[in-house]
Symmetry: C2
Amino acid sequence: MENRITELFKIKYPIVQGGMVWCSGYKLAAAVSNAGGLGLLGAGSMYPEVLKEHIQKIKKATNKPYGVNVPLMYPDMEKILELIIAEKVPIVFTSAGNPKTWTKTLHDAGIVVAHVVANTRFALKCEEAGVDAIVAEGFEAGGHNGREETTTLCLIPQIRKAIKTPLIAAGGIGSGQAMAAAFALGAEGVQIGSRFAAAMESSAHPDFKNEIVKAQEGDTKLTLKKLAPVRLLNNRFYKQVLNYELQGASPEEFQVLLGKGRAKKGMFEGDVKDGELEIGQVSALINKIQPVQEIMDEVISDFNATTLNLAKLSL
Amino acid sequence: MENRITELFKIKYPIVQGGMVWCSGYKLAAAVSNAGGLGLLGAGSMYPEVLKEHIQKIKKATNKPYGVNVPLMYPDMEKILELIIAEKVPIVFTSAGNPKTWTKTLHDAGIVVAHVVANTRFALKCEEAGVDAIVAEGFEAGGHNGREETTTLCLIPQIRKAIKTPLIAAGGIGSGQAMAAAFALGAEGVQIGSRFAAAMESSAHPDFKNEIVKAQEGDTKLTLKKLAPVRLLNNRFYKQVLNYELQGASPEEFQVLLGKGRAKKGMFEGDVKDGELEIGQVSALINKIQPVQEIMDEVISDFNATTLNLAKLSL
């Protein structure tokens, strides 16, 4: 398949690996790029010097295109951008902020820019800002998420109708079947997060990966809506959060409960009871830790089988 | 297309119209059945004598198969079941209760039984109870919904994996594209609610239909989680509910706020400010009031175009 997404990123398959905090180091991103997808480093959990190290390592680990995901509320944005430009990173995915702020700077440096949104309003802003691709992320996605709670099934057709820019679907996609569903809705590429978070090459703590594998239906919830909505996996910390929500705690009380470094504690250091475990609903469908190549092979073969089956259906 | 759903219900298209309270009278159900889908009367908002009248009217309005949706927490269940059996209704969709309670009684009367679930645990119960088809309804669906908040994109593959019974997807489906997506995920039929609620033949108040047409992204939310989760459309009543939730109100306080007859007031009598308006997220994609035949034609033609397009995609 060749389409606008494979052409834009110069990749073989229109499959992007989510640039997730604490999971997406150079090993994961390089493995995905080497397998024909687009690997992304997750700058959201890296100090500038750590990101620099990962960029330099991924350049040695793959000669395929790769990118960096940068949450725009990052405290050290200027430094990060300078570094990305100096290191000649070819692709940047921005998220959690206004796409207008940095797109021109990145374009001027010859960088391809995608931006992550959870609603049509921001997708339109992306188009105005001239971003090259839009990632539309539904309610079922792990980690930070939109306030509208629009699911991928409803979000993709809405954004498809509103914009002409190449569109990547995210949230709830961990299989070739879900990828085919996203394409049916109008997406031209998919972003897969949770399934790659549990991959062998992910930098997530092994105990967190095991929690992803054990996760069942209903084990994640969109929480912390009074601060910024985030989808978390069921553990002791999550139960505290839900309790606070039932009791109508104030944003300040949530802030105290959250404290600092909760996500690192859970996802990277493996405190799976009291750490913050960001993961998608699709974790209920993930039941083993696999190497990236195996995941890619399965997604591709399931996608092909699914589209072939659908081809036989006509009303 | 012929598959297990068309064969089971003896219908032309595997498209079921949701049996929605205050919307699904005999006119809507007969129109859907006449157009080759399966029309359902929504018994949830009918006294036994009203249901009897609608059953007798639908028999005159169509010679195609039709069904009745019965929420199992209905206060007058025995009477309703007696009536359904006496009137020789061919198909019953049960919801909001244990599928074991009534399936045998209905089967003994020669009635085809489908049951609506929002999680795999209940889908397995359905299979044990021997129901003939399962409707799996995702988080984006309007009205009453599951506590797990699993979206259609994540729910369908989970239930597909767990059961062998014919599977109908519901929640977020109002187009042929979404129908194709549901089939990619393993569904063999779809249930369409919101789009038919806004159909010309729906018994919903015209002012409620206009609100559905006006609805934008983010205008529905799953609310009343301390009682039974229900997806509502943004209006004055909904804002009160959200406020109560932010403040951590008790179930008793919610009960007082809700009062009696709120859904009838909004959906049937047209008090769109203070009534309870149950509708799905997909309302943001619905932008006109159409006759049922036109909706069916569009869904069918979009489904065919979508599967044809997907057929060309191979990785």
